[in-house]
Amino acid sequence: MRRELGMFIALVAMCLLLFISNPDFLGASNALNTTRQISMLGIYAIGIGFVIISGGIDLSIGSVIGLTGVLIAKLSSSAPPGLGYPLWVGIPCALGVALLIGLGQGLLITRLKLQPFIVTLGGMLLVRGVSQTVAEGGTISFGDAPFLELANGGIWRVQGEPLLPYPVLIFLVVVGIGTFLLHSTVLGRYVYAIGGNREAARYSGIDVNRIETLTYVISAGLAGVAGVCYAAYIGQMSQQVGVAYELYAIAAAVLGGCSLRGGEGTVLGIVIGSAIMRVIDNGINMFQLQHRDEGGVPRIWRLDPNWTFIIIGAVILLAVILDQLVHMVNAARRTRRAAASAGGPRANSVDVAPDAKTS
């Protein structure tokens, strides 16, 4: 929990700093929008969390997000080239395709012993290409279908703005189910065991292949759910939606304490990691410093939006560097302490008879 706590403190500090620099940060519309962004990232970051904790990687989820949206647009948009099927056909179909993609990748990885990186890299490109083909290289608009309410509407309206937008609601449900699966079920225990030591898990009778395949299905499935939200949020779909989203999800998971070696991470940590990613993103727009120039005229200094990736990249590096340093200091301290205690009476010793000196 050390990592989660540290990251939570960093998150709170960041929010405070942003609020002080620009009170609009916590204004109704920005706060609501940021929360919605955190939620949509969090949904698929939790999905990839299952894969990462079991020691795998899934690069295809950005493409799955895109394809889900494009399929819903194609099937259910009433304007051409949409086919005009009802949403209760379009959404389940799209989600079904997402699950099948996860299943296919999972089977390739576990049955043919292919490397997850390569399989999901191939999947990423292939699925992206399918989106492009379905969208015929263009954009499919939802018009002002009631579908858009899924992203913009919500429950508990206050002054016209929903206090709990639907994506946030979906996110909370995903967090609940994810926490339960990972931390309270045998499945979750097996995911950690496989990530911690795949061979030992196999020698303990765990059906490693089945559990691993399932993590890819969960990852793709939640990417599908996020895809539905993004489609409603953006209102029109092209093959560009979702590009590089998997990298945001991986970054969120790692910031939140997942290790790409597997076996480590919590849902709570991934949630915090997702929040940090989105708050930085938003903060780059919101952060401002008021000052007066030489003429005494009040000016506002803002961050150059071109720095976005520099800042996000630096934060990720800083987080893992700090974590590693803490790790190394602790390990050194443990060794010193052990050496000191071993200097006294021997630990774990039995009474050894006096050595038969023969030389």
Binding site: A193, A201, R202, S349
Partner: protein, 506 residues
């Protein structure tokens, strides 16, 4: 050796502590050029730690090392290489995907003038000369993956020679060699001696040591027990120095002569993948059936087949009279056949998980309803096993990675004991474990056998085989060479079968 001249190598007062154990305490060792010094001791005696210090992989906490009478600091593997110290590990450290020449000069390409760009012809020429010196008739461009174990050994020696090594350490060099390959190795060792190279030869095999060594240094429990000239000693004397007689009596629990029981595990004509000959044996209820053999004799592979890790190609098995065809570990576990594997860190434990999580791992699904974790039941089971095996851990919520080897092994045992075993396979149950924990594990094994559990014990430790087994299966080159009864069991009788020599078969 000339009187008064400094030793080629002198290590004195070497002490090394690891968390929880003193690996070496005030150990000394001397070596002169052109000499073979045998370093002997049981597993865990401190041989490999001492050699790691000599090779620059570990720094001693105390002590000094002199080369030719001048003190040196071996603070890195590179520095040890520079000073002419070469280690040849038991598991050879070659890159199988590269060819012989590339392996010989790996990291040392500059020796033949390759700076940045490889000069292949020069590499191959230099490698060819070294291969001639070690008597290996293979082209320098041969991929290492196509060589036999004996040939790889020669490549390792050639690699050491390429670095102008003056001291070569060989760790159990014959453990995976055939008889002819060993003979070849001994001839090469003779040549190296004649060239003035000092050799430290680590081995458990008495006949080799008596044949090769000029002097013998024995370690036990991290201490120097003695150094003797070969002419002064007999094998019996060395063995008694290695094991310590007084200790040995309390080491192995007394076991009543076992009365024949009903067969529990019957193996008929089992063909293990990678072997030619079928294996058949029967293990009785409450029996400890020892499996003796050299490293690579096929014992671990046989156990993995019985446990369903690598399913058998043909043959049949029964457990308690019922047909038993494990295709994966789960099948074995469901029939009460459990394996505590040889490499427990790789196959036995999830190191970052806690003691409780490791103990419950194979059985956790049965604790709670419908796939839910039942932490209370898990805690109870873990507490029970930790108490039963007297595992030293601050709590059952400690991560296993922080425990000592002996306590880690107890966690592996606890994992299976929590599930009422019928057949318990223990592959090298005390490897890398300190003496105190060893004696405890032996007591537990005896108690489990008395409760009627059938134990298959693979061990490379002759004392362990002799001290614990009711009967002994001996394997050599992936074949079952004989099954010996407890009466009249001798180290010599087992060793004869282990090395493939015929004559004394039971």
């Amino acid at each position: 050796m000339t009187k008064g001249a400094p030793w080629l190598l002198a290590m004195s007062g070497i002490t090394k502590r690891f968390p929880g154990v003193v690996a070496l305490e005030d150990v000394s060792l001397e070596l002169s050029g052109g000499e073979v010094l045998a370093l002997m001791g049981e597993n865990g005696a401190g041989k490999s730690t001492l050699m790691k210090i000599l090779g620059g992989a570990e720094m001693p906490d105390q002590g000094r090392i002199d080369l030719d009478g001048n003190p040196v600091v071996l603070d890195s593997v590179r520095e040890a290489h520079r000073l002419g110290i070469a280690l040849i590990h038991q598991e050879l450290m070659l890159a199988p995907n590269l060819d012989i020449a590339a392996n010989i000069f790996l990291g040392n390409e500059a020796a033949v003038g390759s700076v940045g760009v490889l000069r292949r012809s020069a590499l191959n020429l230099a490698a060819g000369a070294l291969l001639a010196r070690v008597g290996l008739a293979r082209a320098p461009t041969t991929p290492v993956s196509t060589l036999t174990a004996g040939q790889m050994q020669m490549v390792e020696i050639a690699k050491a020679l390429s670095k102008k090594a003056r001291i070569i350490v060989m760790d159990e060099p014959t453990s995976s060699l055939t008889g002819a390959e060993s003979e070849h190795l001994f001839r090469i060792i003779g040549q190296l001696k004649a060239d003035g190279i000092g050799i430290i030869y680590i081995s458990h095999r008495m006949d080799e040591v008596m044949k090769l060594a000029d002097r013998i240094t024995v370690l036990r429990d991290g201490r120097h027990v003695g150094t003797l000239d070969r002419d002064q000693v007999t094998s019996e004397k060395i063995v008694s120095m290695m094991v310590g007689r007084e200790l040995k009596n309390e080491y192995f629990p007394p076991r009543a002569a076992k009365t024949p029981g009903p067969p529990v595990l019957e193996v008929h004509g089992l063909i293990v993948p990678g072997t030619a000959r079928p294996v058949s044996f029967t293990a009785e209820r409450g029996e400890i059936l020892g499996f003796a053999g050299l490293v690579g004799s096929g014992r671990t592979e046989l156990m993995e087949t019985i446990f369903g890790v690598t399913p058998a190609l043909s043959g049949s098995m029964t457990v308690a009279g019922k047909p038993y065809t494990p295709r994966r570990p789960r099948d074995a576990i469901d029939c009460g056949v459990y394996l505590a594997p040889e490499d427990r860190k790789r196959h036995g434990l999830v190191l970052p998980m806690t003691v409780a999580e490791n103990i419950s791992l194979p059985n956790i699904a049965s604790y709670g309803p419908a796939g839910l974790l039942n932490r209370e039941a898990e805690r109870r089971a873990a507490e029970a096993e930790v108490t039963r095996l007297r595992t030293r851990t601050p709590s059952i919520f400690q991560r296993v990675v922080n425990l000592s080897g002996g306590n880690q092994q107890k966690v592996v045992l606890g994992k299976w004991l929590a599930m009422a075993p019928q057949v318990l396979i223990l592959d090298e149950p005390t490897r890398g474990i300190d003496v105190g924990a060893k004696a405890e594990i032996y007591r537990h094994m005896a108690a489990l056998a008395d409760q009627g559990i059938t134990i298959l014990m693979v061990s490379s430790d002759m004392e362990e085989i002799l001290g614990m087994s009711d009967r002994v299966v001996v394997m050599h080159e992936r074949m079952l060479r004989g099954i010996l009864a407890r009466e009249g069991l001798t180290a010599e009788g087992i060793a004869t079968l282990m090395t493939g020599r015929t004559g004394a078969a039971a």
